[in-house]
């Protein structure tokens, strides 16, 4: 059986085509990813973009729509996926996907482009406690990206630069607009770029950590979402959370789409 999970993020659409396998006694081999596909919708309307992303994923997997038993959608724009049988919140989908990758993981931190959130999960991958920040985008990737642009660096270079700094420069502003002006004044005062990068990523990590602390840090910590690719942020988050290790899945931006496809499969039984 094949199911699809579509994660309608604010910047990109992620599609997972999942095949349910029958391997007795090996639950981790219960599913295989047939295709992982990402599309940047650009100026397209979300409903048109969802159709296009899904068709592209099917075509590259050599499948047709009728080969897929159920399509579920998640993410902020999930209601725009008109062909999805059900919409699932990002908390439920992310917790499920993270639990599949790391069955011992109980604290899941999801940091995408526009939103960050913390979740506590049970052994089945059900979110039992979650907190986000409905007001502030400074605890998410797009803020770090905007700041990296101000320093004329890619987000990757920004993360690597931050790792070269051992300075702690607190950023007091809670709002992206004011934080941006703090960064501008650091640039004007000739603060080394590495230190500015670390200050920004520390600030994002501290905001994310505040959400995670609301639900409590317990067991193995798993980070999902695009910010996993930013080594500087991962280091800042470890420090802010006071943990030695954070589990980082492969293809972290697909974890919510994966969880969504898994839930779609489970609900067919």
């Amino acid at each position: 059986m094949i199911t699809a999970g579509i994660d309608m993020g604010s910047r990109s659409i992620k599609v997972i085509l999942l095949e349910e396998l029958k391997v007795d006694g090996a639950p981790q081999l219960k599913y295989g990813v047939k295709k992982a596909h990402i599309m940047m919708p650009g100026d397209l309307d979300q409903d048109v973009a969802a159709d296009k992303a899904y068709d592209e994923a099917l075509a590259s997997a050599g499948l047709k729509r009728e080969d897929v038993k159920a399509v579920f959608a998640t993410g902020a724009g999930r209601k725009q996926v008109s062909f999805a049988a059900e919409g699932i919140t990002e908390m439920t989908a992310g917790a499920k996907g993270a639990n599949f990758m790391y069955p011992q993981g109980r604290t899941v931190v999801d940091v995408g482009a526009e939103e960050g959130r913390g979740m506590k999960t049970d052994a089945e991958g059900r979110a039992v406690d979650f907190a986000g920040n409905e007001k502030c985008a400074a605890g998410a990737g797009s803020f770090a990206e905007a700041m990296s642009r101000a320093l004329q660096m890619s987000l990757k270079e920004f993360g690597d630069a931050s790792l070269k700094s051992d300075k702690t420069i607190p950023m007091n502003a809670q709002c992206t607009v004011f934080a941006e002006s703090e960064v501008v004044s650091l640039i004007h005062s000739a603060t080394p770029k590495n230190d500015i990068a670390k200050a920004v990523l520390d600030a994002v990590a501290s905001r994310v950590c505040a959400m995670v602390r609301r639900v409590g840090i317990e067991g193995e910590v798993v980070l999902i979402g695009g910010m996993v690719h930013n080594a500087g942020f991962v280091q800042s988050l470890k420090t802010a959370m006071g943990v030695d290790q954070i589990s980082l899945p492969d293809m972290p931006e697909y974890i919510s789409a994966l969880g969504c496809a898994m839930i779609a499969a489970e609900r067919q039984h």
Partner: protein, 94 residues
């Protein structure tokens, strides 16, 4: 599930948490809906097909202002939402 709705900003941490397990078959006949003068609560069907309360999206960004009338600066002893929700599902972080 404990669902925390709200935000942290420069002035503090403002979250309302709802223990949604207590909303399933609510023993208070959904009293939160009428008790809140700002009508911030709403019943939704969650991902597990259970009918539970949540805070309406726009209010999640303005909680400190929305709840100000119920929380005078001189202090308060009870809140309408928490008093009405006899199962004890609602908590405020501030």
């Amino acid at each position: 599930m404990i669902a925390n709705y709200g935000y942290k900003d420069g002035s503090g941490e403002y979250y309302i948490s709802i223990d949604t397990d207590k909303c399933i078959g609510c023993a208070a006949e959904r009293a939160c809906l009428t008790a809140c003068p700002k009508q911030m609560f709403e019943i939704i069907t969650d991902d597990y097909d259970d009918e539970v309360a949540w805070i309406k999206k726009p209010n999640c960004r303005t909680l400190s202002y929305d709840c100000a009338d119920c929380k005078p600066s001189g202090g308060y002893t009870s809140l309408p939402c928490m008093t009405a929700c006899t199962p004890g599902a609602i908590k405020h972080s501030w």
